[in-house]
C-alpha cells in the first residue's frame, strides 16, 4: 500500500510533513554533511533580523531534565548575508524553505517581512513573536493579544507569501492568540516556541545561562506542546505546524492527531543529526501499521 505523505499547507507544497525547526537547522547547509536534505519536507531558517545580531554571551545552553535550555539571543547573520551567501547554496533544492524572522519594533517586523517577500527561493515566512519588544520593557510581542494583532496585520499587508505565526507557549490561553492570528490574516500557525525556564549552579550560586533565563525545549515540553496544538486546532481553521519535543515517529503521529498539518523537529536534530530524514523514512511504515494510506486522514483525528 503506497502511503501519501504529500500535502499543500497554506500554499506550501510539502512532499512530506517533516521540517527542521528554526534555530536548530541553521540556514540549511549544515545538515548536508549528514544527509541530502532534499529528502525532508522543508526547514525553517534561524530567526533573521534586519541587521546581523551578536546574540547573548556564553554559556548559552545547558542540559535540563528531558531536554535543554537555550538563550542564544537570536544571533543571526542578518537578512542580507542570508540572501546573498546562504540562500544560493540551497534554493535549488527540492524542499520548502521558510524564513523565520523578527524585529524589535512593529516597523522592523514589517521591514523584514517586505524584504523577505521579494526574495526568490524563500517559500514562506514564519514570524517569531516570542522575542523581546523594544518598546515594552521585558515583555515579548507574543504576550499581548493587541500587539500580536498589530504585528500580524502589519506584516500581512506587505507579503503575499504564506505567513505563519509562531506562538509563544508562555501565555494563559493560547487558543485566543491563535484566533487573533487567524483573524489578522495569518495563513498558518507554528505551535510552540520554547517554554521560559531557568537553571542555577548551586556552587557558584549563579544562573547557568549568562542570560539568566532561557527557553526549554526537548521531550520535556511535549505534553504541553501537544495540548497547545490541540487547543489551537479547535480554535482556528488555518493549518498548524506542530513543534515541541518530537524525538520519534510516534511523536510525529501524536502531533498530527492533535491537529498538526506538519511538524517541525527542533532540539532532537542536535542529538540525532539525521532525525528528520529518519522520521520521513519511518513515517510510511508506521502509517501503514495504523491502517492509514494518507497521512492527512489523521490531521486532528483525535477521538475525544
Amino acid at each position: 500500500m503506497p502511503v501519501n505523505l504529500a500535502n499543500n499547507i497554506a500554499g506550501l507544497n510539502l512532499k512530506n510533513p517533516i521540517l527542521g525547526a528554526s534555530g536548530t537547522f541553521g540556514y540549511g547547509t549544515l545538515y548536508e554533511r549528514f544527509y541530502d536534505i532534499s529528502v525532508i519536507g522543508g526547514f525553517v531558517t534561524k530567526a533573521l533580523s534586519l541587521k546581523p545580531r551578536a546574540g547573548n554571551p556564553a554559556p548559552r545552553i545547558c542540559e535540563a531534565p528531558g531536554g535543554m535550555l537555550n538563550a542564544i539571543g537570536l544571533q543571526n547573520i542578518g537578512i542580507d548575508r542570508f540572501v546573498n551567501q546562504k540562500l544560493p547554496k540551497i534554493k535549488d533544492k527540492d524542499l520548502v524553505i521558510i524564513a523565520n524572522f523578527f524585529g524589535e519594533t512593529v516597523d522592523e517586523y514589517v521591514e523584514v517581512a517586505s524584504r523577505l517577500n521579494e526574495v526568490d527561493g524563500v517559500h514562506g515566512l514564519e514570524m517569531n513573536i516570542s522575542c523581546p519588544n523594544r518598546n515594552n520593557e521585558g515583555l515579548v510581542f507574543g504576550a499581548s493579544c493587541q500587539i500580536t494583532e498589530d504585528v500580524v496585520k502589519a506584516c500581512r499587508k506587505v507579503t503575499n507569501k504564506p505567513l505563519f505565526v509562531k506562538l509563544s507557549p508562555n501565555v494563559a490561553d493560547i487558543a485566543k492568540f491563535a484566533k487573533v492570528c487567524e483573524d489578522s490574516g495569518a495563513d498558518g500557525l507554528s505551535v510552540i516556541n520554547t517554554l521560559s525556564g531557568m537553571a542555577i549552579d548551586i556552587r557558584s550560586r549563579k544562573p547557568i545561562l549568562a542570560n539568566v533565563m532561557g527557553g526549554l525545549s526537548g521531550p520535556a515540553i511535549k505534553p504541553v506542546a501537544v495540548r497547545m496544538v490541540w487547543q489551537c486546532y479547535r480554535a482556528v481553521k488555518i493549518p498548524i505546524f506542530g513543534i515541541g519535543g518530537i524525538s520519534c515517529v510516534e511523536d510525529v503521529v501524536e502531533f498530527i492527531l492533535a491537529g498538526a498539518s506538519a511538524v517541525q523537529i527542533g532540539s532532537m536534530n542536535f542529538v540525532e543529526p539525521e532525525i528528520c530524514k529518519t522520521l520521513a523514512e519511518e513515517l510510511p511504515d508506521l502509517l501503514e501499521s495504523l491502517g492509514v494510506s494518507d497521512y492527512r486522514e489523521l490531521i486532528g483525528a483525535l477521538d475525544v
Partner: protein, 255 residues
C-alpha cells in the same frame, strides 16, 4: 556511528579509559578533534557529551576516550562494559596542528586534557621532541605519565599536594624551564580553563606560538545550535567553538 566498547579501564581518581571500535572505520580522526557521545538512549540525559579523541588507529578502526566522571552523563559512560554498544558522532572540530618545521613541542595538560596528546605523540611524524607537562591535584590523578614516557616524550609532572613531581601548579615547571633558556617552537595546552589561560599568557609573554583547546558547553557539536560560542579577540561577533575550534591559536580567542 555505533561503536563496540572494547575496554573500560579505571585510571585512578574519577578517570577512566574507554577503548572503542566503530562498526565502520571513521575518517579524519586527529588529536584535538572530538566526538559527541550519546550517554543513554533515554531523554535524560538528553544531549550528547563532547569528548576529545585520545589515542586512535590511523585507519580509523579504533580510538579511545579519556573520561572524567563529573555528572550524570559521564557516570553513565563509566558503567559501560566490553561488548556494550555506544553511539558517537564525529569527529568534529579543528585539531592540534604541528607547524611545519617545528622541532620541539611542549604540551601542557591537566586532568582529562592529556587525552589529545596520547594520539598526538603516537602519530607524531618527522623529528619532533615532545615534552609533556602534566598537572593534577595529587599523584593518583596524573594519568598516562608512564605511557607518554614509553613513547619517548619527556614528562614533567606537578601536583598541588606535592605527592609527585613539583609541588604546585603545572605552570611552575613550565616557567622554570622557559627561564632556564629552553624554548619550544610551539606550546599546546588542554585542560581546565584557568590553566590554559595561564599557559597562554606565559607563551605570549615568551613569544611562543600556543594552541589552546576550549571546552565550552555544547549541545550539537557541529555548528547548528550556536550555543558554544566564544569571542575572537578584539571582535564583537561570536564564533562557535565546536566548528571554528575547539583548538585555537591562543591569540585568536579570549580565554
Amino acid at each position: 556511528m555505533d561503536c563496540i566498547v572494547r575496554v573500560n579501564e579505571e585510571l585512578g581518581g574519577d578517570f577512566f579509559y574507554l577503548g572503542l571500535e566503530p562498526l565502520e572505520p571513521i575518517a579524519d580522526i586527529r588529536p584535538g578533534r572530538f566526538f559527541m557521545v550519546r550517554c543513554s538512549q533515554s531523554a535524560d540525559p538528553f544531549l550528547r557529551r563532547p569528548m576529545s579523541v585520545a589515542d586512535y588507529k590511523k585507519d580509523g578502526s579504533g580510538f579511545g576516550l579519556v573520561v572524567q566522571t563529573v555528572g550524570w552523563g559521564t557516570s553513565l559512560l563509566s558503567t559501560l562494559v566490553p561488548w556494550d554498544r555506544i553511539d558517537v558522532i564525529g569527529p568534529f572540530g579543528t585539531n592540534f596542528e604541528v607547524p611545519d618545521g617545528a622541532r620541539s613541542l611542549w604540551a601542557v595538560a591537566g586532568g582529562s586534557g592529556v587525552a589529545p596528546f596520547l594520539g598526538l605523540i603516537d602519530h607524531a611524524e618527522g623529528d619532533v621532541d615532545h615534552t609533556v607537562f602534566l598537572g593534577a591535584r595529587t599523584s593518583e590523578l596524573l594519568i598516562y605519565a608512564d605511557r607518554l614516557k614509553e613513547r619517548g616524550a619527556c614528562v614533567i609532572t606537578a601536583t598541588e599536594d606535592g605527592s609527585s613531581g613539583e609541588h604546585g601548579l603545572v605552570t611552575e615547571p613550565l616557567v622554570k624551564k622557559l627561564d632556564s633558556g629552553e624554548k619550544p617552537d610551539v606550546i599546546f595546552t588542554c585542560g581546565p580553563t584557568p590553566m590554559m589561560r595561564a599557559v597562554a599568557r606565559i607563551a605570549e609573554a615568551h613569544g611562543i606560538k600556543c594552541s589552546v583547546s576550549l571546552e565550552n558547553r555544547m549541545a550539537c557539536g557541529f555548528g547548528a545550535c550556536v550555543g558554544c560560542v566564544t569571542k575572537k579577540r578584539g571582535e564583537e561577533n561570536y564564533i562557535t567553538v565546536c566548528s571554528r575550534g575547539p583548538v585555537f591559536d591562543s591569540f585568536e580567542v579570549e580565554i
